[in-house]
Protein backbone atom coordinates (compact mmCIF):
# COMPACT_ATOMS: atom_id res chain seq x y z
CA UNK A 1 0.00 0.00 0.00
CA UNK A 2 1.39 3.35 -0.98
CA UNK A 3 0.44 4.66 2.45
CA UNK A 4 -2.37 6.41 4.25
CA UNK A 5 -1.10 9.83 3.18
CA UNK A 6 -2.18 9.06 -0.39
CA UNK A 7 -5.87 9.45 0.49
CA UNK A 8 -7.07 12.92 -0.38
CA UNK A 9 -8.96 15.11 2.10
CA UNK A 10 -11.67 15.61 -0.55
CA UNK A 11 -12.23 11.92 -1.16
CA UNK A 12 -15.73 10.71 -0.31
CA UNK A 13 -15.24 7.18 0.99
CA UNK A 14 -18.10 4.72 0.81
CA UNK A 15 -18.76 1.05 1.25
CA UNK A 16 -19.29 -0.40 -2.23
CA UNK A 17 -22.24 -2.61 -3.02
CA UNK A 18 -21.49 -6.05 -1.60
CA UNK A 19 -19.83 -4.70 1.55
CA UNK A 20 -21.98 -4.26 4.65
CA UNK A 21 -21.38 -3.13 8.17
CA UNK A 22 -23.59 -5.36 10.27
CA UNK A 23 -24.28 -5.73 13.96
CA UNK A 24 -24.36 -9.47 14.50
CA UNK A 25 -26.85 -10.40 17.21
CA UNK A 26 -25.52 -13.94 17.64
CA UNK A 27 -21.98 -12.83 18.43
CA UNK A 28 -22.85 -9.42 19.87
CA UNK A 29 -20.34 -7.57 17.70
CA UNK A 30 -20.01 -5.38 14.64
CA UNK A 31 -18.76 -7.12 11.52
CA UNK A 32 -17.79 -5.93 8.08
CA UNK A 33 -19.15 -8.41 5.53
CA UNK A 34 -17.63 -8.65 2.07
CA UNK A 35 -17.30 -11.35 -0.60
CA UNK A 36 -15.85 -14.41 1.18
CA UNK A 37 -14.68 -12.18 4.05
CA UNK A 38 -15.87 -11.35 7.54
CA UNK A 39 -13.83 -8.73 9.40
CA UNK A 40 -14.25 -8.11 13.11
CA UNK A 41 -14.60 -4.41 13.57
CA UNK A 42 -13.60 -2.51 16.72
CA UNK A 43 -15.52 0.45 18.14
CA UNK A 44 -13.34 3.08 16.44
CA UNK A 45 -13.57 1.38 13.05
CA UNK A 46 -17.36 1.17 13.40
CA UNK A 47 -17.58 4.91 14.04
CA UNK A 48 -15.42 5.59 10.99
CA UNK A 49 -17.25 3.19 8.70
CA UNK A 50 -20.69 4.44 9.71
CA UNK A 51 -19.66 7.81 8.32
CA UNK A 52 -18.45 6.45 4.96
CA UNK A 53 -21.64 7.24 3.07
CA UNK A 54 -20.16 8.54 -0.18
CA UNK A 55 -21.35 12.05 0.72
CA UNK A 56 -19.08 13.17 3.56
CA UNK A 57 -15.50 13.98 2.61
CA UNK A 58 -12.59 12.49 4.48
CA UNK A 59 -11.91 15.86 6.01
CA UNK A 60 -15.52 16.17 7.24
CA UNK A 61 -15.42 12.67 8.69
CA UNK A 62 -12.26 13.53 10.62
CA UNK A 63 -13.76 16.82 11.90
CA UNK A 64 -16.91 15.03 13.00
CA UNK A 65 -15.02 12.30 14.86
CA UNK A 66 -12.64 14.79 16.49
CA UNK A 67 -15.60 16.83 17.73
CA UNK A 68 -17.63 13.89 18.96
CA UNK A 69 -14.78 12.12 20.75
CA UNK A 70 -12.92 15.27 21.78
CA UNK A 71 -9.73 13.84 20.36
CA UNK A 72 -6.74 15.35 18.63
CA UNK A 73 -7.53 15.87 14.97
CA UNK A 74 -4.15 14.74 13.65
CA UNK A 75 -4.41 11.45 15.49
CA UNK A 76 -7.94 10.83 14.22
CA UNK A 77 -6.85 11.65 10.70
CA UNK A 78 -4.08 9.07 10.88
CA UNK A 79 -6.46 6.44 12.22
CA UNK A 80 -9.03 7.12 9.53
CA UNK A 81 -6.50 7.12 6.70
CA UNK A 82 -4.85 3.95 7.94
CA UNK A 83 -8.13 2.05 8.20
CA UNK A 84 -9.50 3.26 4.88
CA UNK A 85 -6.18 2.65 3.14
CA UNK A 86 -6.14 -0.95 4.33
CA UNK A 87 -9.75 -1.55 3.38
CA UNK A 88 -9.32 0.10 -0.02
CA UNK A 89 -6.44 -2.26 -0.76
CA UNK A 90 -8.84 -5.13 -0.07
CA UNK A 91 -11.44 -3.39 -2.23
CA UNK A 92 -13.77 -3.16 0.74
CA UNK A 93 -13.96 0.65 0.61
CA UNK A 94 -14.15 2.89 -2.45
CA UNK A 95 -12.31 6.19 -2.14
Amino acid sequence: MSGAAAISADSKPRLPRGVHLKHDETRGEWLLLAPERVLKTNAIAVEILKRCDGIATLSEIVDDLAAQFKAERAQIETDVKTLLGELAAKRMVDL
Partner: protein, 378 residues
Amino acid sequence: MNARETTPTPVPAPVGILAELTHRCPLGCPYCSNPIELDSRAGELDTETWKRVFSEAAAAGVLHAHLSGGEPAARRDLVEIVAHCKKVGLYTNLITSGIGITRERMRELAEAGLDHVQLSIQDALPESADRIAGYKGAFARKIDVAKWVNEVGIPLTVNAVIHRANIARAGRMVEFAVELGARRVEIAHTQYYAWALANRKALMPSRAQVDKAVAEVERLREVYAGKIVVDHVAPDYYAKYPKACMGGWGKRTLNVTPHGRVLPCHAAETIPGLEFWNVREHSVPDIWANSPAFNAYRGTDWMLEPCRSCPRKSIDFGGCRCQALALTGDARNADPICHLSPYHDKVAAIAATFDEVDANVPASDYIYRTLKTQVPAQ
Protein backbone atom coordinates in the same frame (compact mmCIF):
# COMPACT_ATOMS: atom_id res chain seq x y z
CA MET B 1 -30.14 -40.88 21.10
CA ASN B 2 -27.39 -39.12 19.28
CA ALA B 3 -27.04 -36.34 21.78
CA ARG B 4 -23.48 -35.68 22.80
CA GLU B 5 -22.70 -36.99 26.27
CA THR B 6 -19.90 -34.58 26.96
CA THR B 7 -19.70 -31.09 25.58
CA PRO B 8 -16.61 -29.48 27.10
CA THR B 9 -16.80 -26.38 24.93
CA PRO B 10 -19.91 -25.00 23.30
CA VAL B 11 -20.03 -25.35 19.53
CA PRO B 12 -19.22 -22.01 17.88
CA ALA B 13 -21.90 -20.54 15.65
CA PRO B 14 -21.58 -21.35 11.95
CA VAL B 15 -20.38 -18.53 9.69
CA GLY B 16 -21.38 -19.77 6.25
CA ILE B 17 -23.84 -22.04 4.51
CA LEU B 18 -23.05 -23.51 1.12
CA ALA B 19 -26.39 -24.35 -0.45
CA GLU B 20 -26.17 -26.70 -3.38
CA LEU B 21 -29.58 -25.69 -4.71
CA THR B 22 -29.38 -28.28 -7.48
CA HIS B 23 -26.86 -30.61 -9.03
CA ARG B 24 -28.20 -29.91 -12.51
CA CYS B 25 -25.62 -28.07 -14.61
CA PRO B 26 -25.21 -27.55 -18.34
CA LEU B 27 -21.43 -27.68 -18.03
CA GLY B 28 -19.40 -30.85 -17.60
CA CYS B 29 -16.17 -29.61 -15.99
CA PRO B 30 -14.00 -32.65 -15.26
CA TYR B 31 -12.83 -31.23 -11.90
CA CYS B 32 -16.32 -30.53 -10.53
CA SER B 33 -16.40 -30.60 -6.73
CA ASN B 34 -19.84 -32.22 -6.68
CA PRO B 35 -19.92 -35.91 -5.80
CA ILE B 36 -19.72 -38.50 -8.57
CA GLU B 37 -23.15 -39.64 -7.41
CA LEU B 38 -25.22 -36.54 -8.16
CA ASP B 39 -28.59 -35.72 -6.58
CA SER B 40 -31.50 -36.10 -9.01
CA ARG B 41 -33.89 -33.28 -9.82
CA ALA B 42 -36.85 -35.28 -8.49
CA GLY B 43 -35.60 -35.25 -4.92
CA GLU B 44 -34.59 -31.57 -4.71
CA LEU B 45 -35.82 -29.53 -1.76
CA ASP B 46 -38.73 -27.27 -2.63
CA THR B 47 -38.72 -23.48 -2.29
CA GLU B 48 -40.42 -23.41 1.11
CA THR B 49 -37.95 -25.88 2.61
CA TRP B 50 -34.98 -23.87 1.33
CA LYS B 51 -36.51 -20.73 2.83
CA ARG B 52 -36.85 -22.44 6.18
CA VAL B 53 -33.24 -23.64 5.97
CA PHE B 54 -32.00 -20.08 5.33
CA SER B 55 -34.15 -18.64 8.12
CA GLU B 56 -32.80 -21.22 10.58
CA ALA B 57 -29.23 -20.70 9.39
CA ALA B 58 -29.49 -16.93 9.86
CA ALA B 59 -30.96 -17.36 13.34
CA ALA B 60 -28.10 -19.74 14.22
CA GLY B 61 -25.52 -17.07 13.34
CA VAL B 62 -24.74 -17.77 9.69
CA LEU B 63 -23.59 -14.60 7.90
CA HIS B 64 -22.86 -15.69 4.33
CA ALA B 65 -25.20 -17.73 2.12
CA HIS B 66 -23.34 -19.21 -0.84
CA LEU B 67 -25.91 -20.17 -3.46
CA SER B 68 -24.25 -22.86 -5.46
CA GLY B 69 -24.89 -26.09 -7.34
CA GLY B 70 -24.60 -27.55 -9.92
CA GLU B 71 -25.78 -24.42 -11.60
CA PRO B 72 -28.06 -22.51 -9.20
CA ALA B 73 -29.62 -20.62 -12.12
CA ALA B 74 -31.20 -23.93 -13.12
CA ARG B 75 -33.59 -23.35 -10.19
CA ARG B 76 -36.62 -21.33 -11.29
CA ASP B 77 -37.03 -19.99 -7.75
CA LEU B 78 -33.53 -18.50 -7.56
CA VAL B 79 -34.73 -14.89 -7.37
CA GLU B 80 -37.26 -15.79 -4.68
CA ILE B 81 -34.57 -17.57 -2.67
CA VAL B 82 -32.23 -14.57 -2.91
CA ALA B 83 -35.02 -12.24 -1.78
CA HIS B 84 -35.69 -14.49 1.20
CA CYS B 85 -32.01 -14.63 2.19
CA LYS B 86 -31.90 -10.84 2.04
CA LYS B 87 -35.03 -10.63 4.21
CA VAL B 88 -33.48 -12.77 6.95
CA GLY B 89 -30.24 -10.76 6.86
CA LEU B 90 -27.92 -13.15 5.02
CA TYR B 91 -25.16 -11.96 2.73
CA THR B 92 -25.88 -13.64 -0.62
CA ASN B 93 -23.18 -14.92 -2.90
CA LEU B 94 -24.21 -16.50 -6.20
CA ILE B 95 -21.69 -19.07 -7.42
CA THR B 96 -22.49 -19.56 -11.07
CA SER B 97 -21.21 -20.76 -14.42
CA GLY B 98 -23.29 -17.96 -15.93
CA ILE B 99 -25.27 -20.36 -18.07
CA GLY B 100 -28.96 -19.74 -17.45
CA ILE B 101 -28.43 -16.12 -16.42
CA THR B 102 -29.99 -13.56 -18.74
CA ARG B 103 -29.69 -9.80 -18.58
CA GLU B 104 -33.26 -9.58 -17.29
CA ARG B 105 -32.67 -12.23 -14.65
CA MET B 106 -29.53 -10.48 -13.45
CA ARG B 107 -31.60 -7.33 -12.98
CA GLU B 108 -34.17 -9.28 -10.98
CA LEU B 109 -31.44 -10.80 -8.82
CA ALA B 110 -29.99 -7.35 -8.16
CA GLU B 111 -33.40 -6.02 -7.18
CA ALA B 112 -33.91 -9.00 -4.89
CA GLY B 113 -30.75 -7.89 -3.05
CA LEU B 114 -28.03 -10.17 -4.38
CA ASP B 115 -24.73 -9.04 -2.83
CA HIS B 116 -22.07 -10.73 -4.89
CA VAL B 117 -21.54 -12.90 -7.96
CA GLN B 118 -18.79 -15.44 -8.40
CA LEU B 119 -18.47 -16.40 -12.04
CA SER B 120 -16.37 -19.36 -13.16
CA ILE B 121 -14.16 -19.23 -16.19
CA GLN B 122 -12.49 -22.33 -17.61
CA ASP B 123 -9.70 -20.69 -19.57
CA ALA B 124 -8.72 -17.38 -21.15
CA LEU B 125 -8.86 -18.94 -24.64
CA PRO B 126 -12.39 -19.52 -25.98
CA GLU B 127 -11.89 -22.92 -27.69
CA SER B 128 -9.98 -24.36 -24.77
CA ALA B 129 -12.49 -22.98 -22.26
CA ASP B 130 -15.42 -24.55 -24.08
CA ARG B 131 -13.60 -27.86 -24.42
CA ILE B 132 -12.88 -27.97 -20.68
CA ALA B 133 -16.51 -27.09 -19.87
CA GLY B 134 -17.79 -29.58 -22.46
CA TYR B 135 -20.16 -26.85 -23.69
CA LYS B 136 -19.86 -24.86 -26.91
CA GLY B 137 -20.42 -21.15 -26.47
CA ALA B 138 -19.94 -21.11 -22.69
CA PHE B 139 -16.98 -18.75 -22.88
CA ALA B 140 -18.82 -16.14 -24.95
CA ARG B 141 -21.82 -16.33 -22.65
CA LYS B 142 -19.70 -15.73 -19.56
CA ILE B 143 -18.35 -12.51 -21.04
CA ASP B 144 -21.94 -11.31 -21.45
CA VAL B 145 -22.84 -12.34 -17.91
CA ALA B 146 -19.85 -10.43 -16.50
CA LYS B 147 -21.06 -7.37 -18.38
CA TRP B 148 -24.56 -7.71 -16.94
CA VAL B 149 -23.20 -8.12 -13.41
CA ASN B 150 -21.22 -4.90 -13.83
CA GLU B 151 -24.26 -3.19 -15.30
CA VAL B 152 -26.33 -3.76 -12.16
CA GLY B 153 -23.40 -2.79 -9.93
CA ILE B 154 -22.92 -6.08 -8.12
CA PRO B 155 -19.29 -6.83 -7.26
CA LEU B 156 -17.86 -9.64 -9.37
CA THR B 157 -15.38 -12.35 -8.48
CA VAL B 158 -13.95 -14.49 -11.25
CA ASN B 159 -13.05 -18.03 -10.28
CA ALA B 160 -10.61 -20.07 -12.32
CA VAL B 161 -9.73 -23.66 -11.50
CA ILE B 162 -6.21 -24.40 -12.69
CA HIS B 163 -5.06 -27.69 -14.22
CA ARG B 164 -2.83 -28.92 -17.03
CA ALA B 165 -4.94 -27.65 -19.93
CA ASN B 166 -4.97 -24.03 -18.73
CA ILE B 167 -2.03 -23.70 -16.33
CA ALA B 168 0.10 -21.95 -18.95
CA ARG B 169 -2.47 -19.12 -18.77
CA ALA B 170 -2.89 -18.85 -14.98
CA GLY B 171 -1.50 -15.32 -15.06
CA ARG B 172 -3.46 -14.43 -18.18
CA MET B 173 -6.64 -15.36 -16.28
CA VAL B 174 -5.84 -12.76 -13.60
CA GLU B 175 -5.58 -10.14 -16.38
CA PHE B 176 -8.73 -11.47 -17.99
CA ALA B 177 -10.59 -11.11 -14.67
CA VAL B 178 -9.48 -7.45 -14.55
CA GLU B 179 -10.78 -7.00 -18.12
CA LEU B 180 -14.10 -8.53 -17.10
CA GLY B 181 -14.42 -5.90 -14.37
CA ALA B 182 -13.90 -8.24 -11.41
CA ARG B 183 -12.81 -6.82 -8.06
CA ARG B 184 -11.59 -10.20 -6.93
CA VAL B 185 -10.18 -13.30 -8.64
CA GLU B 186 -9.70 -16.78 -7.29
CA ILE B 187 -6.91 -18.74 -8.89
CA ALA B 188 -7.53 -22.19 -7.46
CA HIS B 189 -5.31 -25.09 -8.33
CA THR B 190 -7.37 -28.23 -8.69
CA GLN B 191 -7.93 -30.23 -5.53
CA TYR B 192 -8.19 -33.91 -6.28
CA TYR B 193 -11.50 -35.18 -4.94
CA ALA B 194 -14.57 -36.57 -6.66
CA TRP B 195 -14.55 -35.77 -10.40
CA ALA B 196 -11.09 -34.25 -10.20
CA LEU B 197 -9.76 -37.44 -8.63
CA ALA B 198 -11.33 -39.51 -11.41
CA ASN B 199 -9.65 -37.18 -13.92
CA ARG B 200 -6.38 -36.70 -12.08
CA LYS B 201 -4.26 -38.18 -14.85
CA ALA B 202 -5.65 -35.69 -17.36
CA LEU B 203 -5.64 -32.73 -15.01
CA MET B 204 -2.48 -32.79 -12.95
CA PRO B 205 0.26 -30.43 -14.13
CA SER B 206 3.98 -30.95 -13.69
CA ARG B 207 5.93 -29.43 -10.85
CA ALA B 208 7.68 -27.07 -13.26
CA GLN B 209 4.36 -25.85 -14.64
CA VAL B 210 3.04 -25.29 -11.13
CA ASP B 211 6.10 -23.34 -10.01
CA LYS B 212 5.93 -21.10 -13.05
CA ALA B 213 2.19 -20.45 -12.68
CA VAL B 214 2.41 -19.72 -8.95
CA ALA B 215 5.26 -17.23 -9.48
CA GLU B 216 3.39 -15.49 -12.28
CA VAL B 217 0.16 -15.14 -10.26
CA GLU B 218 2.10 -13.83 -7.24
CA ARG B 219 3.83 -11.27 -9.47
CA LEU B 220 0.45 -10.09 -10.79
CA ARG B 221 -0.91 -9.84 -7.26
CA GLU B 222 1.59 -7.00 -6.76
CA VAL B 223 0.98 -5.46 -10.19
CA TYR B 224 -2.77 -5.22 -9.57
CA ALA B 225 -2.71 -4.38 -5.84
CA GLY B 226 -5.67 -2.14 -5.03
CA LYS B 227 -7.28 -2.98 -8.39
CA ILE B 228 -8.13 -6.63 -7.96
CA VAL B 229 -7.79 -8.90 -4.95
CA VAL B 230 -6.07 -12.16 -5.85
CA ASP B 231 -7.00 -15.20 -3.79
CA HIS B 232 -4.56 -17.94 -4.65
CA VAL B 233 -5.26 -21.53 -3.63
CA ALA B 234 -1.88 -23.23 -3.80
CA PRO B 235 -1.56 -26.71 -5.23
CA ASP B 236 -1.92 -29.24 -2.48
CA TYR B 237 0.31 -32.04 -3.70
CA TYR B 238 3.46 -29.92 -3.50
CA ALA B 239 2.78 -28.35 -0.11
CA LYS B 240 4.57 -29.02 3.18
CA TYR B 241 1.63 -28.50 5.53
CA PRO B 242 -1.99 -29.37 4.86
CA LYS B 243 -4.73 -26.76 4.52
CA ALA B 244 -7.04 -26.09 7.44
CA CYS B 245 -9.80 -27.77 5.49
CA MET B 246 -13.08 -25.83 5.84
CA GLY B 247 -11.36 -23.80 8.57
CA GLY B 248 -11.88 -26.83 10.81
CA TRP B 249 -14.52 -29.56 10.60
CA GLY B 250 -17.89 -28.33 11.88
CA LYS B 251 -16.30 -25.07 12.95
CA ARG B 252 -17.35 -22.51 10.35
CA THR B 253 -19.48 -23.84 7.54
CA LEU B 254 -22.15 -26.29 6.60
CA ASN B 255 -23.04 -27.64 3.21
CA VAL B 256 -26.59 -28.59 2.23
CA THR B 257 -27.07 -30.93 -0.74
CA PRO B 258 -29.96 -30.54 -3.22
CA HIS B 259 -31.76 -33.36 -1.38
CA GLY B 260 -31.25 -31.75 2.03
CA ARG B 261 -28.40 -33.74 3.55
CA VAL B 262 -26.19 -31.51 5.65
CA LEU B 263 -22.45 -32.10 5.33
CA PRO B 264 -19.44 -30.59 7.11
CA CYS B 265 -17.79 -30.28 3.67
CA HIS B 266 -18.94 -31.00 0.14
CA ALA B 267 -16.86 -34.18 -0.09
CA ALA B 268 -17.76 -35.58 3.33
CA GLU B 269 -19.98 -38.28 1.84
CA THR B 270 -16.87 -40.03 0.51
CA ILE B 271 -16.13 -40.99 4.13
CA PRO B 272 -17.95 -44.22 4.92
CA GLY B 273 -19.78 -44.67 8.19
CA LEU B 274 -20.69 -41.03 8.80
CA GLU B 275 -24.32 -40.37 9.67
CA PHE B 276 -25.64 -37.25 7.93
CA TRP B 277 -28.87 -35.63 9.01
CA ASN B 278 -31.36 -34.12 6.62
CA VAL B 279 -33.09 -30.74 6.87
CA ARG B 280 -36.36 -32.54 6.16
CA GLU B 281 -36.10 -34.19 9.59
CA HIS B 282 -33.98 -31.79 11.67
CA SER B 283 -33.55 -28.06 12.08
CA VAL B 284 -30.26 -26.44 11.04
CA PRO B 285 -29.16 -25.62 14.64
CA ASP B 286 -29.99 -29.17 15.75
CA ILE B 287 -27.91 -30.61 12.91
CA TRP B 288 -25.03 -28.21 13.54
CA ALA B 289 -24.82 -29.06 17.23
CA ASN B 290 -25.86 -32.69 17.32
CA SER B 291 -25.51 -34.51 14.03
CA PRO B 292 -23.03 -37.38 14.31
CA ALA B 293 -21.25 -36.36 11.10
CA PHE B 294 -20.49 -32.88 12.45
CA ASN B 295 -19.28 -34.20 15.77
CA ALA B 296 -17.13 -36.97 14.26
CA TYR B 297 -14.09 -34.75 13.58
CA ARG B 298 -14.94 -31.58 15.47
CA GLY B 299 -12.19 -30.14 17.64
CA THR B 300 -9.03 -32.20 18.18
CA ASP B 301 -10.06 -35.14 20.44
CA TRP B 302 -10.48 -37.57 17.54
CA MET B 303 -6.91 -37.09 16.30
CA LEU B 304 -4.24 -39.77 15.98
CA GLU B 305 -0.50 -39.19 15.91
CA PRO B 306 1.31 -37.24 14.50
CA CYS B 307 -1.56 -34.72 14.84
CA ARG B 308 -2.48 -35.43 18.45
CA SER B 309 0.75 -34.01 19.87
CA CYS B 310 1.40 -31.53 17.08
CA PRO B 311 1.63 -27.81 17.94
CA ARG B 312 -0.16 -27.03 14.68
CA LYS B 313 -3.20 -29.14 15.48
CA SER B 314 -5.40 -26.11 16.14
CA ILE B 315 -4.00 -24.29 13.10
CA ASP B 316 -4.65 -26.81 10.33
CA PHE B 317 -6.81 -29.35 12.21
CA GLY B 318 -4.87 -32.19 10.60
CA GLY B 319 -5.87 -31.04 7.11
CA CYS B 320 -8.54 -32.69 5.04
CA ARG B 321 -10.40 -35.77 6.31
CA CYS B 322 -11.46 -36.81 2.82
CA GLN B 323 -7.91 -36.67 1.49
CA ALA B 324 -6.65 -38.58 4.54
CA LEU B 325 -9.17 -41.29 3.82
CA ALA B 326 -8.54 -41.37 0.08
CA LEU B 327 -4.78 -41.69 0.41
CA THR B 328 -4.29 -43.52 3.73
CA GLY B 329 -7.49 -45.50 4.20
CA ASP B 330 -8.39 -43.83 7.53
CA ALA B 331 -10.04 -40.41 7.78
CA ARG B 332 -8.55 -39.89 11.26
CA ASN B 333 -4.99 -39.91 9.96
CA ALA B 334 -3.09 -36.73 9.28
CA ASP B 335 -3.77 -35.42 5.81
CA PRO B 336 -0.79 -37.00 3.95
CA ILE B 337 -0.04 -33.63 2.35
CA CYS B 338 1.66 -32.97 5.70
CA HIS B 339 5.37 -33.77 5.58
CA LEU B 340 5.00 -35.33 9.05
CA SER B 341 2.52 -37.94 7.81
CA PRO B 342 3.98 -41.45 7.46
CA TYR B 343 2.06 -41.61 4.18
CA HIS B 344 3.60 -38.42 2.80
CA ASP B 345 5.81 -40.42 0.40
CA LYS B 346 2.67 -41.56 -1.35
CA VAL B 347 1.72 -37.97 -2.18
CA ALA B 348 5.24 -37.22 -3.30
CA ALA B 349 5.18 -40.36 -5.47
CA ILE B 350 1.93 -39.33 -7.16
CA ALA B 351 3.23 -35.82 -7.73
CA ALA B 352 6.55 -37.16 -9.05
CA THR B 353 4.74 -39.23 -11.67
CA PHE B 354 3.75 -35.99 -13.31
CA ASP B 355 7.12 -34.28 -13.11
CA GLU B 356 7.91 -35.25 -16.66
CA VAL B 357 4.64 -33.96 -18.08
CA ASP B 358 5.28 -31.92 -21.19
CA ALA B 359 3.09 -28.82 -21.39
CA ASN B 360 2.68 -29.35 -25.13
CA VAL B 361 1.20 -32.80 -24.78
CA PRO B 362 -2.57 -32.43 -24.66
CA ALA B 363 -4.37 -33.69 -21.59
CA SER B 364 -5.94 -37.05 -22.20
CA ASP B 365 -9.70 -37.20 -22.67
CA TYR B 366 -11.81 -36.20 -19.73
CA ILE B 367 -14.53 -38.05 -17.97
CA TYR B 368 -16.98 -35.16 -18.08
CA ARG B 369 -19.23 -34.55 -15.12
CA THR B 370 -22.65 -35.92 -16.00
CA LEU B 371 -25.65 -37.40 -14.26
CA LYS B 372 -24.88 -41.09 -13.87
CA THR B 373 -27.45 -42.27 -16.42
CA GLN B 374 -25.52 -40.55 -19.19
CA VAL B 375 -22.46 -41.98 -20.89
CA PRO B 376 -19.29 -39.94 -20.37
CA ALA B 377 -18.58 -37.81 -23.43
CA GLN B 378 -15.96 -39.00 -25.93
